[in-house]
Symmetry: C2
Subunit: 351 residues, 2 copies
């Protein structure tokens, strides 16, 4: 049989109000009765009825969502938003609501203005993609002073005070890319690693991917004869990409694969298609629309997914767990590193 506050109250010879006070640490209870009630609760194994609690306390929870505005080259950011909305659909009757504070990924000013708005509006919690590392760090501190709980998605801020981080292990994803790239390579082959829009995107994340990739080949001595060329490409326009790749192909004859450390892999795919260079294994990140066509027609061999929709979904669900269910949640939550090919593509990302 389910035990209710009323049962506890009767056992302790007090009213339900008093039990409620100790249950919520609201004070105004004498130490002896508090002890007594706590003891009874321990014995009897009380589990509060979340539905009744939510219904009675007409409290609602505002969640601020601070992620780059999904537009233009940022198709990627639509996915977390979709996940957030899906989560909301499952728990909105608990009084959860979100407020969007999108910012321009390439404009620090827009981010700072979003931060100001959030601090002004004082939400209960915040889902943050900390694209601007330094500014995010300040912002997180300010939020914590207001008691705003923070869930970080996509990339992390070392040492900051957040509830949990949900995202990918960048290094491991690079390692995986190395493994996928390695299959069938021969002595004397060359590979190219390209960091596109290097100074714009999140530095740490990208660097971690590259390190993971390199690490794979360093750890397997059978690949020590491999030549790996690395390129940083701040500009991602067609001319810059063309020049970079053109010079690579002129200089190195045995290029067998290219690893692009972010979602801009479609730019390289475009080049390879135009210059009809088949037989080059191409690996990159993210199931954004621009990449899909190339995955389908075989120019891109593998895409590694960060599961952005799942990140958004989990961000909200973790807040629900924490705020409503009062459960412990894990601080670091790495997403599975999904490998997407033409053959399994259709089963990802449609939800």
């Amino acid at each position: 049989m389910k035990v209710r506050i009323k049962d506890i109250a009767e056992k302790a010879n007090v009213s339900v109000g008093t039990v409620d006070r100790v249950l919520h640490n609201r004070g105004e209870v004498s130490e002896p009765t508090r002890k007594k009630i706590l003891e009874i609760i321990g014995d009897i194994g009380y589990q509060p009825d979340i539905l009744a609690r939510t219904l009675a306390s007409r409290r609602s929870y505002r969640i601020a969502v601070a992620i780059p505005r999904p537009a233009g080259e940022n198709e990627f950011w639509q996915a977390p938003l979709k996940g957030i909305e899906r989560a909301l659909g499952e728990i909105n009757f608990f009084g959860f609501g979100i407020d969007n504070y999108h910012f321009d990924q390439y404009d620090i000013g827009s981010f700072e203005s979003a931060c100001r708005d959030i601090l002004h509006d004082r939400p209960d919690a915040l889902v943050l993609a900390p694209v601007f590392q330094k500014e995010s760090r300040y912002f997180i501190t300010a939020c914590r002073e207001q008691g705003i709980r923070i869930v970080l998605i996509n990339s992390r801020i070392e040492g900051a005070d957040y509830l949990c981080y949900i995202g990918q292990d960048a290094f491991k994803s690079g390692l995986l890319a190395g493994r996928l790239m390695s299959c069938g390579l021969l002595h004397g082959d060359s590979l190219v690693v390209i960091n596109m829009a290097y100074d714009k995107d999140n530095y740490q994340h990208i660097a971690g991917r590259e390190q993971g990739f390199m690490s794979y080949f360093n750890e397997h001595q059978e690949y020590h004869t491999l030549k790996i060329i690395r390129k940083d490409l701040p500009d991602t326009d067609n001319r810059a990409v063309g020049e970079c790749l053109g010079s690579c192909f002129r200089k190195y004859k045995n290029i067998k694969g290219i690893f692009v450390t972010n979602s801009r892999v479609y730019k390289v795919a475009g080049y390879l298609s135009e210059h009809t260079r088949p037989g080059i294994r191409l690996i990159g990140y993210d199931l954004i629309p621009s990449n899909l066509a190339y995955l389908r027609n075989g120019v891109i061999d593998y895409l590694i997914s960060q599961k952005p929709e799942e990140q958004g979904y989990q961000a909200i669900m973790n807040l629900f767990s924490h705020l409503i269910l009062k459960r412990e949640i894990q601080k670091i939550q790495h997403m599975p590193i999904d490998i997407i090919t033409r053959e399994n593509l259709e089963y990802y990302g449609q939800r």
Copy 2:
């Protein structure tokens, strides 16, 4: 502002009881008032408060779970159970509870006895892994006559009357295996496809995987010189596996890969380890403990995951959506076809 039954009642000049009656099609309402109330509901956009509803109607839902008993060689079936329990942890306060009716995967009698028990206990819904196709078909019909909603997981029954199916697209998973196998193959190479415990496991599922695999190589003409040997292995003891593989290796000199169409791939991995046959690409299914060691040490190259835990989780969540939220749910829900390697293994299945 949220609209309540009370608001509708006031607008219609009736009591909340009457509104409730039309809301639930309980009859005993005159046609004119029914029409009027329905009209108001349409105009006003009423959304019932699920929490209040659940709290007031102290209805609970019993979900029967009929899947093979997770034990011995069936480690696989622990995962759906884990997923089911995770889902329950998120929604148990809605009065959801499960009753397990595990059966012996290799004993039809135990399955039939579980079916009888279920029909006797009359749960609200059923999560079924239809391992025994013919018997499952009868059982499903009997359940439907009792109004028991059915969610199928793992494998499907053509044409049966179920609420939804959650599982993998077997053909596509075989196609993917073909793709993973194909990398780096040369003229004159050989591959082996092994169906283990063929007559025991679900026939359709296994056949679909093999067909998908074959189809990959048929569709890519560059592989027309490939020799593909197929073997059915009803018995999976070491002797039988050894004889089968031994004769293959004796007869065909250029075996470069082996595709095992189910989770028994560890038996082949064991053989390859013992007989020190490196350089053979080995692909199979499912992240069961017996397979993991071989994936970690590189004997197994790829495992394809059916996401069994996710299947269990989704089964319960779909029932929740259907029974409590009264939402439409999708009849066929194919799981993503996850590719697991040594490098991304740690991010799968730990939840």
